[in-house]
């Protein structure tokens, strides 16, 4: 019979708040994302359009440059249309970056059976997914809303007119439009990472989820002559949403416009499916045999 001295004392010090523990997961995920040189290369490439647009803003606001290069004074205006193009460019680049980064974030933990060890800490499955999500948002933000807002600020600073305050809606649109898109990409990327083990396949799957339904939606729209097919077409759907957020002129015919509510419902539905996919895969248990 053992004699228990009951001398053992558990830790009784103060505990940090829950959010600070999520930071550990965020740090892991960011380190994982940036461990590849390809990520660095993609990030540098994503800055090239920003530089081009920056030069555009500079030229548009420099009267000498306008006179020399553009030959006329009012041919190149910086407005919602300009920033819509910038936003769309950066957001589609963000798709490429998320398709590269996201597949390794959850699948590595699942492959290594790391979830039991992580989840046997006071961090929930929700906290784990939030950590990964925040990491992806943090990686995609420098590609999307941050450069967009910086260019907006630069345009506000460079413009001779009281441009900044008059166009604040564009700034709001850039922020909200970017955040909606990168949140969508992040949750989609994590869901696919949780289900697809092989990186190349997962990367392909992310592109497929965005573009294959777009083709099907195009067929539906063409055959049935209905605009609702565009609800499967992420590029069209997002472009329409960004146009409205920025107050840019819409390019498609009126009868092809999708209601904003319908677009938001589709995005929410896809995110809901992704959450269900994550819920099914993010489990603390180890392999149960037999």
């Amino acid at each position: 019979m053992s004699v228990y001295k009951h001398e053992y004392r558990a830790y009784t010090g103060a505990l940090t708040p829950l959010w600070s523990r999520v930071v550990v997961v965020v740090r892991y995920a960011i380190a994982e994302a940036w461990s590849s040189r390809i990520t660095v290369a993609l990030f540098i490439l994503s800055m090239l359009p920003v530089v081009v647009y920056l030069v555009g803003i500079y030229l548009a606001n420099n009267s000498l440059a306008r006179a020399i290069i553009m030959r006329r004074d009012n041919g190149f205006e910086i407005g919602a249309g300009f920033f819509l193009n910038l936003l769309a460019t950066q957001c589609w680049i963000a798709l490429g970056i998320s398709a590269w980064i996201a597949p390794r974030l959850v699948s590595f933990d699942l492959a290594d059976n790391a979830l039991p060890i992580l989840l046997s800490h006071p961090i929930s499955r929700f906290g784990y997914v939030m950590g990964k999500l925040i990491a992806l948002l943090a990686c995609l933000s420098p590609v999307t809303w941050i450069p967009c807002l910086l260019l907006f600020a630069y345009q506000g600073y460079s413009s001779a007119h009281p441009w900044f305050m008059a166009n604040l809606r564009i700034a709001g649109g850039l922020l909200v439009g970017s955040l909606l898109w990168i949140a969508f990409l992040s949750i989609l990327g994590l869901a696919i990472s949780a289900w697809v083990k092989w990186r190349v396949v997962a990367t392909g799957a992310i592109f497929a989820v965005v573009f294959v339904p777009a083709g099907i939606g195009g067929i539906i729209t063409g055959v049935l002559r209905t605009r609702w097919g565009f609800l499967l077409n992420a590029p069209v759907m997002m472009t329409q949403l960004w146009q409205r957020l920025l107050g840019a002129p819409e390019m498609m015919r009126d009868q092809l416009h999708l209601p904003t509510v319908a677009i938001l419902i589709v995005l929410t539905l896809v995110c809901g499916i992704c959450v269900l996919m994550l819920n099914a895969r993010i489990r603390g248990r180890e392999v149960v045999r037999g």
């Binding site: 053992y8 004392r9 830790y11 829950l18 461990s35 290594d112 039991p116 248990r285």
Partner: protein
């Protein structure tokens, strides 16, 4: 502290993974000390461990650890340390970083985390290897860093899934000594292991499980006594084993005798251990046979495992 707040309690717990049975109607009351979970692969040991570490929720029934449930995550996980059987480490971390992050996940401040990480590394005797990346560790070192992770935050319940796998004999002995030390301090250690002979030496009680059902639980000698359909085997060291065997066979309860390889002892099987010892006492008193030692030969975990579960893993 009430009695229940010092125990790991399973109350009629069942866990199903879809249609697959994990464990069924398990009721346990595990006191402090070393408890060994024994069973074949797929018997439900890991499910039991996952249930007591809050990694899975029971399909029915109730699990509490020292009166706490995983719903109270902060307090629950402060008391529980889990050492999984898998090589599950975040990539590119050193042993020290792994421990630090684990402690930060437990909600420790950075200062406490540094101190506790150092203490844990010292306790498992990992030494300077703590500064190296885990990828470069041997299997034994990985076991040690996993163990360090489980004990670093000073839990009162330590759940160890195959903690001796991959360890060399010296490291095993060190680990067993550490387990014994921790249990002696009043800690709960729940260990699953296939290395029964070594774990047996430090176990206070054993839980035998197969097919998701608990076959037996309790002090190993008590369990052995309750397995009445398997005659107990006793080794008697004496100067005249043949004579002793013939004397013992005069009573009906003795069913088998086998000479020890060195000829200085005999293994005897008996269906009635009380009657057996009474007769043995009588023989000893007569003084015709010099008896040097008497020891049970099959009331260890391995023997119980073979009797109750069988070598094929099916309960007999």
């Amino acid at each position: 502290m009430t009695a229940m707040n010092d125990r790991i309690v399973f109350e009629n717990v069942s866990k199903f993974y879809g249609e697959v049975l994990g464990v069924n109607r398990v009721s346990l009351n595990i006191p402090p000390g070393v408890t060994t979970l024994v069973g074949p692969n797929g018997s439900g040991k890991t499910t039991l461990m996952n249930l007591m570490t809050g990694l899975v929720q029971p399909s029915s029934g109730h699990v509490s650890v020292l009166g706490l449930t995983p719903a109270d995550a902060d307090r629950f996980f402060r008391q529980v340390g889990y050492c999984t059987q898998f090589d599950s480490f975040p990539r590119r971390l050193t042993g020290r970083e792994f421990l630090l992050d684990s402690l930060l996940l437990h909600g420790m401040s950075e200062g406490d985390a540094f101190r506790l990480a150092e203490e844990a590394i010292e306790r498992v005797r990992l030494g300077d290897a703590g500064w190296r990346r885990i990828e470069s560790y041997s299997k034994g070192m990985r076991q040690k860093i996993r163990l360090a992770q489980a004990i670093a935050h000073h839990p009162r319940v330590l759940v160890l899934d195959e903690p001796l796998n991959g360890l060399d004999p010296m490291a095993r002995a060190e680990s067993l000594a550490l387990f014994q030390e921790l249990s002696g301090l009043g800690m709960h250690l729940v260990i699953s292991s296939h290395i029964l002979d070594e774990v047996d030496r430090i176990s206070d009680q054993v839980v035998l499980i197969t097919g998701g059902y608990i076959v037996a639980e309790g002090d190993i000698h008590q369990v052995r006594r309750e397995v009445r359909d398997k005659p107990m085997q006793v080794l008697i060291r004496c100067d005249q084993p043949e004579l002793l065997a013939s004397r013992m066979f005069t009573s009906n309860h003795c069913v088998e005798a086998r000479l020890h390889a060195d000829g200085k002892g005999v293994f005897l099987r008996t269906a009635d251990i009380d009657e057996f010892y009474r007769l043995l006492n009588q023989i000893a008193v007569e003084g015709l046979i010099a008896i040097d030692a008497v020891a049970p030969a099959d009331d260890d975990t391995l023997a119980i495992y073979q009797y109750l579960i069988g070598s094929d893993g099916s309960a007999s």
